[in-house]
């Protein structure tokens, strides 16, 4: 994946995934989770525990179903979130962006700031997720006056601009891997098809 620590050291990485409200220009992140990964100097990878998970109830998400991360229970978004329908302990992970925009902004700022404490962060299809992260931050109600979130977003933007090893795209690595595999196999088919 293009990230390999020096001999005798390890690198701390986060594997991040987001789910969005759609694919278009108006889509926002509705679910965000990260898992810690340790990359050893021999190239080996160890997968740790879930580091964070948060559900942003975005405007327009009055319908549909979600799974409560802590319990696995499936609930209707029409029930209203966060509220008494949500089991105790789960509410901290579920933030209604419209009802409590300050909490949503604070949580996203914490996420972005925390990402910067890692050697690298990895996504599957990184371009999409990174764009969605930044768009979601900018579209939070009250973003214009929230210096904390603005600073976090600026620091995040600077890091991904200035540190070429910070963002890892697992999809890219996967495509290279499979292309190598297929090229080798396909060449063999062509070479042996005449015999």
């Amino acid at each position: 994946m293009g990230i390999r620590p020096a001999a005798g050291s390890v690198k701390r990485m986060l594997m991040i995934d987001s789910e969005t409200t759609g694919l278009g220009a108006l889509s926002r992140i509705r679910s965000l989770s990260s898992t810690g990964i340790t990359v050893r100097d021999n190239g080996g990878i160890n997968i740790g525990d879930t580091r964070s998970r948060v559900f942003f109830r975005q405007p327009g998400m009055e319908g549909g179903l979600i799974r409560i991360p802590t319990t696995g229970e499936v609930v209707s978004l029409g029930q209203g979130l966060p509220g008494q329908e949500i089991p105790a302990g789960a509410a901290a992970d579920i933030i209604d962006v419209v009802v409590n925009p300050e909490q949503a902004r604070t949580r996203l700022a914490q996420e972005l700031t925390d990402y910067l404490s890692y050697d690298a962060i990895a996504f599957k299809n990184a371009r999409f997720d990174v764009e969605q992260l930044m768009t979601t931050a900018r579209s939070m109600p009250g973003f214009e006056t929230d210096q904390n979130l603005k600073q976090a977003l600026t620091a995040f933007s600077e890091r991904i601009t200035n540190d070429p090893h910070f963002i890892v795209d697992v999809d890219f690595s996967g495509r290279v891997y499979m292309r190598k595999k297929n090229t080798r196999k396909n060449a063999r088919i062509c070479c042996t098809s005449n015999t």
């Binding site: 594997m15 995934d17 996967g174 499979m178 090229t183």
Partner: protein
């Protein structure tokens, strides 16, 4: 050792065999240098629509579920779940994480926490298994 894309290899081999056999390209390809032939085969493979339609290839930057290598597609064309299951059962170095993701996947995919784990395992196998 079972390599990640073994299933994909089998399918792609058969797909290409069907694609090439009887094609006007076939005799011409025989005379090509190996690297050119390989490139043509790859081109045919990519155009064959086996992974996904051409339109989807052109839209790789949009959401993960529409990429040819979305978790759904990876599950269909590779043995990633077999490898995770083996790690969970056989006590691999990430046994706990493997067991956890096996539990989580029973509740469905396209859940950020589940897919973050799956992406982690995908990254691990891509990084540590010989292409």
């Amino acid at each position: 050792m079972i390599l990640l894309p073994n299933k994909q290899d089998i399918y792609s081999r058969e797909e290409l065999r069907c694609l090439i056999t009887g094609s006007a390209l076939y005799s011409g390809m025989d005379a090509m240098p190996e690297d050119v032939r390989s490139a043509v085969v790859n081109l045919l493979y990519n155009k064959s629509g086996f992974f996904a339609s051409r339109e989807l290839f052109e839209q790789m930057t949009i959401g993960g579920r529409f990429t040819p290598q979305s978790m759904d597609n990876l599950a269909a064309i590779s043995n990633i779940f077999q490898l995770i299951h083996e790690e969970a059962v056989d006590g691999g170095p990430d046994q706990n994480a493997a067991r956890r993701v096996m539990q989580m996947i029973s509740q469905g995919s396209h859940i950020a926490e589940t897919d973050a784990y799956l992406s982690g395992f995908y990254a691990k196998y891509v990084q540590t298994r010989t292409a």
